[in-house]
Structure formats: C-alpha cells, structure tokens
C-alpha cells in the first residue's frame, strides 16, 4: 500500500488494475503469506489480497466464483462429493452448496488465517463455510490428496498464482493424484490464470495437464478486478467432455441464484479466442 491509498497491481506483461482504498482493515503475515483486507471507497466493498495479489472483492467476486463452480458442477449428472483446494475465502464453497445434489464439500486450505479473516471481514463470501455439509481441512493439499482414491465427483483447484504457497499445486505429480482422487465420471477444474497477462504460466500449466488428463479444455470469462480483465480455467477429466451434459431443470435452479451464470452463458464459455486456443494447444 502506498500513501495515497490506491491498491495497484501490475503484471509483468503490463496489464494492471487500480482501486481507490479508504482503509487497510487487516494486514498480517501468516506462516505462508501476507494477508490483507482493504476497504475500497466504492461498491467493490472489501477486498482480500494475498502477497499483494488480488484474490476477491465483495463487489465482483461472483464473476470468478460462479465460473469456477457451476461450469463443472452442471456438467456432472449428480455431483455429491466435492473437494475445493485453496479457496479459503469460501466463495467457491458457497457456490458449490447451491447444488442440491451435494452431500459433502471438503475445503482443503493450507492457511487458516485466510479462512479466519474471511469469516470475520467477508461474511457474504465466507457464509458457506459453517454449513454442516462442509468439512474444513487446514493442510497442504499436496499431502491431503495422496491417499484419496476415487473419492470426489468434482475437484476445484481455487489456488493462488503459481508462486508462493501455491506453487506445488502446479506440478505433474499433483495433477496425477488429483485425477486418481476423482470418481468415475469426475471432473477437475483449476483456475489457469489470465489469458493475456500470464502466457508462459498458461503454457506451462496446460503442458502438464495434458500429460495427465485425457481431456483438457479451457474456458474463459471476464473478471473486472483481475489484471488483464479476464480469466481462464482448465476443465479436465478422464472421460467427460465439456458441454457433454446439462440438466435443464438444475440449470434453471442455479441460474435463479446467480448474477452471471445461465445456460447460454455456460455454452458460450468454451468458444475461446484464437490466441488462447493457440496458447493451450500448440505446446511443443
């Protein structure tokens, strides 16, 4: 934070965001990272940053959380068991719980401070974390996943960027373990950075994913407060192709509870721009 109180974040490729800040509500170093809660002076509300990187604003977090959760959840005929890796702010868990089929959500977050701070300062995001269906594991997902064979219908990797504590979540071995933790017909979705701002990271990640998963696709959606303005997620599975299944009734149910998600929007996500197609497919 600088004196004039603008939160600024610029990627090495030059894309950047700026948000006017009224106050720093919380700033501490956990065992793993710097955790801050900022109060913006606009409808973006309160903001969570980790190691000075934007995680979520109250005002636009649904752009990210609806997209990471509902695209894979809706592509599964009956998602009952869900694992969320990272995602300590609770936004992804909140979206997952909108699906009535869900019986159990495990949130595996390495940093307890993220959960505590989100519960205290970001109640509209973290509200699902106290739900009886949710089990919170404060541990390293790399270890947690190792002995969980055939346990989950959906696994969502809601990690930080491939640096800092999240770096081990971008390895071939980890992806292999994630795939083995999926049940038959299971789907894994991982956040895969900005298509415009993180070209090298995207290439690296998709190269690894394609070594492990038979099916790897990319989908995108705008995120107003991430540098570069939009985001890509990797949709991966042993057997399930994206857009291969959608239940109209469940879709309507979820759409009613969402600000951006709807069927047409869902169907449009996998039509990706030419340059991203090149990035994720020409990986020699």
């Amino acid at each position: 934070m600088e004196e004039e109180l603008y939160y600024k974040e610029i990627t090495p490729s030059g894309f950047g965001i700026a948000i006017k800040i009224k106050e720093v509500l919380f700033s501490e170093y956990s065992k793993y990272q710097k955790v801050e809660i900022l109060e913006s002076d606009s409808k973006l509300g309160k903001i969570l940053t980790l190691d000075d990187l934007m995680m979520a604003t109250e005002g636009d977090e649904y752009f990210y959380h609806e997209m990471i959760a509902h695209i894979p959840m809706m592509n599964h005929p009956c998602p009952k068991t869900v694992l969320v890796i990272g995602g300590g702010d609770g936004g992804t868990v909140r979206e997952v719980l909108k699906h009535k089929t869900v019986e159990k959500v495990v949130l595996c977050e390495i940093d307890e401070m993220v959960i505590d701070v989100s519960k205290k300062y970001l109640p509209t995001i973290s509200c699902g974390l106290d739900d009886p269906k949710v089990e919170i594991k404060i541990e390293d997902a790399i270890e947690y996943i190792k002995d969980k064979k055939d346990m989950f219908d959906i696994i969502l990797i809601d990690s930080t960027d491939p640096m800092g504590p999240g770096v081990g979540l971008f390895t071939e071995e980890f992806y292999k373990n994630v795939m083995d933790s999926l049940k038959e017909g299971g789907i894994m979705v991982a956040q895969s950075e900005s298509p415009v701002a993180n070209e090298d990271e995207i290439k690296h990640m998709y190269r690894l994913l394609k070594k492990v998963f038979p099916i790897v696709s990319s989908y995108t959606s705008p995120i107003p407060t991430y540098p570069g303005g939009y985001w890509a997620w990797a949709f991966c599975s042993k057997t399930v192709e994206p857009l291969s299944y959608i239940d109209e009734e469940r879709c309507e149910e979820i759409t009613k509870q969402c600000k951006i998600y709807n069927k047409d929007y869902h169907m449009a996500r996998f039509a990706i721009p030419t340059f991203l197609n090149d990035l994720t497919n020409n990986l020699n």
């Binding site: 610029i10 490729s13 700026a18 948000i19 606009s42 107003p224 570069g228 047409d264 929007y265």
Partner: protein, 281 residues
C-alpha cells in the same frame, strides 16, 4: 492521469480501475476539443493513446476492441462495400475494416485533426491505414457529416464515446433519421455501449432509444483488458439483417486468419450469451 510514480491510472466512479506502468509521456497537448496524450508503457502494451485522461487504446491490446466492433457487422453483411466510421481518427477501426476484400470505400469522420495527426506520428502501425487509397478522412463534426453526406453505406460503425451528441444514448431523433437515411436497406449500424459493469444506467438509456429506432437490436460483449471493468459491450442494429446472417465460409476463414481473437464460433457465442439487454430493460 499519470501519477507521481509513473503509473497511468484510471478509475470509474463505480470503483473499477486500471493501472499501467509508464516509461515516458511521448506527447501531451490540449487540442481545440480535448486533451490528447501518447504514453509509452514499459511493457508489451506498447504505446498508449488517452483522450481527456481516458484510455482510448494501447498498441498491445487494441485488437480486443476493434476485432469485435468491426468483424461482427462486416461479416453479417453479404457484400459490404461502403463503410462509415464515426469517431475513428486513430485508424484502429479502419485497419480492421480494410481486412475485408469487398470494401471499396471507407469514410472516417473525426472532429479532431490533432488525434489523426498524433496517431499517424506515434502509432503508425494503427493509423497508417488512414493513408490507404480506399480511405477518406473527414475532419468535421460527425453530426454535420451525417446531415450533409449523400453516400449510401452498408455498414456504419460508431466507435468513439459520444460523437453525436452530449453523450451515449442521448441521440436526437434527427441523428437517427440521418443515420438511417445514409444506411442502405440491408445496412448495419454497430456502436460501442460502454462497460456493462461500470455504466449500467447509460447503457439502459441507449438500448431503449435503439429499440425504438431499429427492428433488430442485439448486444454482444467481450473482454477488453485495458478498459476499467474489462467487459465491454457493442450493439448491433439493423432493420433487416440479424447478426452473423449471410454466412460465407471463405470470408470467415480469411478474416479469422488475420485476427488474434475473432472466430465465427467466438462471435456467435458472444451474441448468444448476452442476456444483458433483456436484464437491463
């Protein structure tokens, strides 16, 4: 504005904002109409044009905006020959229009000669096309141009924020009458309609007036990384042509080859996903 630490910073009243690290201010002037600046970023974004301290384009990501505003209407028209670009003094829109081989005449109207000269000097990759023999640049008020011109256009692209009146959505019926007079019966008008997250109210006023004046009004959106709020919306208007009508495989292939973003599927899905207009009205 460029702050003391050399960041170009732009924040909308709704709170969304961008920041770009700047190496140098290459040019800064106040024309008769506006403040014009060319900034040199220190990244792949290259040079940046701002008008009245608002982001207009960066060399690095201009294609996100211009491929979308141009190729959707151009490919929806079966044979676009004459194209009018209102507020296109940078040349970025004309550059995309000229990728279409059917095009015979492009009229670019911009009120501010300093924008045209500045872009030719500092952004030749973008503005060089303004010297193409198919292109005529008219330095005048677009309001007067559409009143006086007697050319029939196949496609009219309104690319600047508020070229025809006090602001987007506040066009008078005289403006609509003149636009329609210039437009061929199977013609198409496309205009930008701001960021849906940052300017909801403005967008609503615009859509309401468009629906009163055109049979077919469709919005589509795509991200523009260096605009605050990042999602951007364009409106497609016509009395007889629907978006992506008149499919011609060869033309699509040709354009797709020359684009970084645009594909038929990408455009199609951007149009289908759009429930924004319905929601706003």
């Amino acid at each position: 504005m460029v702050d003391e630490q050399n960041y170009y910073r732009e924040i909308t009243p709704s709170g969304f904002g961008i920041a770009i690290k700047i190496k140098d201010i290459l040019f800064s002037t106040q024309s008769k109409y506006q403040k014009i600046e060319v900034l040199e970023s220190e990244s792949s974004l290259g040079k940046i044009l701002t008008l009245n301290d608002l982001m207009f384009l960066t060399e690095g990501d201009a294609y996100h905006y211009h491929e979308m505003i141009v190729h959707v209407p151009m490919l929806s028209h079966k044979n676009p020959k004459n194209v009018l670009i209102i507020g296109g003094g940078t040349g970025a829109t004309a550059k995309e229009v000229l990728k279409h081989k059917t095009v015979e005449k492009v009229v670019v109207v911009d009120i501010d000669e300093v924008v045209v000269d500045t872009c030719k000097k500092y952004l030749p990759e973008v503005a060089g096309c303004l010297d193409d023999e198919k292109v005529t640049v008219k330095i005048m008020d677009a309001f007067d141009y559409i009143k006086e011109s007697d050319i029939n256009f196949d496609v009219i692209i309104i690319t600047s924020p508020d070229p025809l009146g006090p602001g987007v959505g506040e066009y008078t019926s005289e403006v609509y009458q003149n636009l329609k007079r210039l437009l061929n019966t199977d013609g198409i008008i496309v205009m930008q309609s701001e960021s849906p997250v940052a300017n909801e109210q403005k967008s609503k006023i615009l859509y309401e007036s468009l629906l009163k004046n055109f049979e077919i009004v469709k919005t589509y959106s795509s991200p523009v990384p260096t605009y605050p709020g990042s999602c951007w919306v364009w409106v497609f208007c016509s009395d007889s042509v629907n978006p992506l009508d008149n499919y011609d495989e060869q033309r699509y292939e040709e354009i797709t080859k020359n684009c970084k973003l645009f594909t038929k599927e990408y455009a199609e899905k951007r149009l289908e996903q759009e429930t924004l207009l319905d929601d706003l009205l």
